[in-house]
């Protein structure tokens, strides 16, 4: 052997090595085109062990969703019979929030969602963006269509203003920051986009549930939509489209009706600015807190420190991997769901009521709504409500009872055991 072959071999090898390195770097971290991701977790949950053989359904769902909602760069608002969809989803606002970050020819912002939200909430609104796994609680997955902090009862959509309030105030105690400094129309655009992702995600889940009742192995295969039918069997095609439209129409109607489901609240009969009345309210609220009708203590704990029952919220429970009787994750299913993109199950603790940290807002009205209506998607139930004029023996909290509980909760962070050590007024550097 002579030396030149060695050296040229070495050179070739190092060339190859550098090409490989560059290739690995480029392919490993290249940011892919913005595309919505399929809800594989729901497919697995609905099809069980047969989820791998549902490619036709997966493709059909992608086609239907793209037809109705477009893509992350080009959103579309579905036209639905007898419905004014634009009232819920304004296409101009959606365009402002969608697409890559930048601005249009009039210097108006574009891509607001990707600029401010997508890294946590994900391009698809699945609450599984790149930073999601490191957060507790996880960012909201909009696709379940459930929102915690709102003026409407459980089972009803939040209003536009409810979602806006969360964007403006942020959620203290979580990774959700305040976006108060954005322009009003930018916040509006983001709220529209959240609704858009939520409706899209719920339609997708609906289609998956529908697909689970269809048999691909039948002859002819039962499909969600078969475009070949457009010409061959127009009436079957129309029927397929109708099924598809039905769930979108139902959701748009629900969002449209949100405002009429807002719970209006009258002020308390007591004047809470009167010290004596407030002391009485707090005392009564405390009795109710530990009473068997409100039953607050059974989860929030005897000390209200939130050390009662540990549980899971609906977003964690969604894949169906939490056993209903033992309330524990089914260990065998976890790796499979994680491989499909689910985040590790995260436990939910009842709120520590002594911190003075109010995720859903600290106004008395916000607290009233949470007690009266419960918190959607969590174990927090709605209070048993005793309306005015109800029979004497009916068990439940009256309007004023709830206000008294609110006042008690508002006093909890100020009780001496809740307070931090007294403040030093000197300009001392204290290390704790």
């Amino acid at each position: 052997m002579n030396m030149t072959t060695f050296s040229s071999g070495t050179r070739r090898l190092s060339l190859l090595a550098s090409v490989l390195c560059v290739a690995a770097l480029l392919t490993g971290c290249e940011s892919p085109d913005a595309r919505f991701r399929g809800n594989m977790v729901a497919i697995r949950a609905n099809f069980g062990d047969k989820y791998r053989t549902q490619d036709q359904h997966v493709k059909d769902i992608a086609d239907v969703l793209a037809a109705m909602f477009g893509t992350p760069d080009e959103p579309h608002v579905p036209k639905l019979p007898d419905l004014n969809t634009a009232e819920v989803l304004d296409i101009d606002k959606l365009r402002m929030a969608a697409g890559p970050v930048g601005s249009d020819e009039f210097d108006r912002p574009r891509g607001l969602y990707r600029q401010h939200c997508a890294h946590c909430h994900g391009i698809s609104g699945d609450g599984a963006g790149p930073t999601a796994a490191f957060l507790n609680p996880y960012p909201r997955d909009y696709r379940l269509g459930k929102f915690k902090f709102k003026s409407t009862p459980i089972g009803y959509k939040p209003t536009h203003d409810d979602l806006k309030k969360i964007l403006i105030d942020g959620i203290p105690g979580t990774a959700m920051p305040s976006f108060a400094l954005l322009d009003n129309d930018e916040i509006d655009a983001l709220v529209h986009y959240v609704k858009y992702l939520s409706i899209r995600g719920e339609v997708e889940r609906d289609l998956i549930r529908y697909a689970a009742t269809l048999d691909l192995e039948a002859e002819p295969p039962e499909r969600i939509v078969n475009v070949a039918y457009a010409k061959e069997k127009p009436s079957d095609f129309a029927e397929q489209l109708e099924e598809v439209q039905r769930s979108a129409a139902r959701l748009v109607t629900q969002w449209q009706n949100a405002r009429s489901n807002v719970m209006e609240v009258a002020p308390p009969s007591r004047d809470m600015n009167d010290p004596q009345a407030r002391v009485a309210a707090i005392r009564h609220g405390r009795e109710l807190f530990y009473g068997a009708v409100a039953n607050c203590f059974s989860c929030h704990g005897d000390t209200a420190l939130g050390d009662g029952k540990v549980s899971y919220d609906d977003w964690v429970k969604d894949p169906g991997w939490i056993d209903g009787s033992t309330n524990q994750p089914i260990a065998a299913q976890i790796p499979e769901f994680l491989a499909l993109g689910a985040l590790e199950p995260q436990v939910l603790r009842p709120r520590n009521l002594r911190l003075g940290m109010y995720r859903g807002g600290r106004r008395p009205i916000d607290m009233y709504w949470r007690i009266r209506n419960g918190i959607e998607g969590t174990p927090m139930p709605a209070a048993a409500f005793k309306p005015e004029g109800a029979p004497e023996d009916m068990k439940g909290l009256t309007h004023d009872d709830i206000w008294d509980v609110v006042e008690y909760l508002r006093s909890l962070p100020y009780e001496s055991i809740s307070l931090p050590a007294p403040q030093e007024l000197e300009n001392l550097r204290e290390r704790s």
């Binding site: 090898l13 690995a24 997966v58 475009v227 309330n327 068990k395």
Partner: protein
């Protein structure tokens, strides 16, 4: 081999080793940085979705253009009854993790309460198997829905709980009926309903009181789980159906659905908590294969068809 050769061999091996180590570490770094599992992208076929969009925008699904499919008309009514039985030994029921302040009410005297995911009664009868009609039928047509069902159409149905157990572990009702949730316990419960596509609710039901959920209004394709946050071991399954043709098997595994439209092919679905999607069964001694728990049946007018369904224990995980 001379000394120069040896030196070059060493250099060669060294450089290969270095290059390999470099590539491997770069790969490891790049993969671990982006290593989180992400679900696949949805790739839509532009030709397909353009076509679907055009059809939708043209009002293609609005039912006006869709021709009403002519169903065969039923020729009378019949009764569908039978039993669900288990062959083989069922998986063991586990003790519910009852704890907390209410344990004297929920498990008096420290009694062990077993889960109800699969309860096998005398003669291997399976309790709480749900069977329901999945074929869409015209609900307003007395040829399809027998007038005997009219009385219950808007009736109030009760869903009760006692000793921290839902009294109906599997509960079926019509979506037009009104649901009343009862609590017969001396302690408070909350009843968390999250029907997929329906209206969720989560009321506290104080002891010995009732809560009106009223009519669900939507039909569900399959049952959903009902829970209680105060007593996390409590679990039941509920379904809302538009048509009244459904039944839940009794402790001996028997069920009966009266006034089922006869003379037409109907699809029924069988559901059990531990085996949500049944694929095979032995019906009246004959092996049948079911698709997603569904089977098709055509009844003769006036007859009482008896189905002795034997399900294999292997289906219940």
């Amino acid at each position: 081999m001379n000394i120069a050769d040896k030196r070059w061999t060493a250099v060669l091996i060294g450089s290969i080793g270095f290059a390999v180590a470099g590539v491997v570490s770069l790969l490891v770094v790049s993969l671990s940085a982006c290593g989180r599992v992400e679900p696949p992208d949805q790739v839509a076929n532009p030709a397909n979705y353009e076509l679907i969009r055009t059809a939708l925008e043209a009002g293609g699904g609005s039912g006006e253009t869709a021709a009403v499919q002519q169903l065969a008309q039923p020729t009378g009514f019949a009764t569908l009854s039978g039993t669900f039985k288990l062959s083989g030994s069922p998986p063991a029921r586990v003790a519910l993790p009852i704890s907390g302040d209410d344990r004297n009410v929920c498990a008096p005297g420290g009694k062990t309460i077993l889960d109800e995911k699969l309860v096998v009664g005398p003669q291997n009868g399976i309790e709480d198997v749900l069977i329901y009609l999945t074929t869409k039928i015209p609900l307003d047509d007395p040829k399809w829905v027998h007038p005997s069902y009219d009385a219950q159409k808007n009736a109030v149905v009760e869903f009760d709980q006692k000793q921290c157990l839902f009294l109906s572990h599997v509960f079926a009702m019509q979506s037009s009926q009104k649901l009343r949730i009862l609590n017969s316990d001396p302690v408070a419960h909350n009843t968390k309903l999250s029907p997929p596509g329906g209206r969720g609710d989560n009321p506290i039901v104080p002891s010995r009181s009732a809560y009106e959920y009223n009519e669900p209004g939507v039909e569900l394709r399959s049952p959903f789980e009902v829970s209680c946050s105060i007593h996390p071991w409590m679990s039941a399954w509920m379904i809302f159906r538009d048509a009244p043709h459904f039944a839940v098997s009794k402790p001996d595994g028997s069920f009966s659905i009266t006034n089922v439209p006869a003379g037409v092919d109907l699809k029924f679905r069988v559901w059990q908590e531990r085996a949500s999607s049944l694929t095979s069964a032995n019906v009246n001694g004959q092996a049948q294969s079911w698709s997603k728990g569904e089977f098709t049946i055509k009844l003769e007018p006036g007859e009482t068809r008896n189905l002795d369904v034997v399900l294999d224990a292997a289906a219940f995980k």
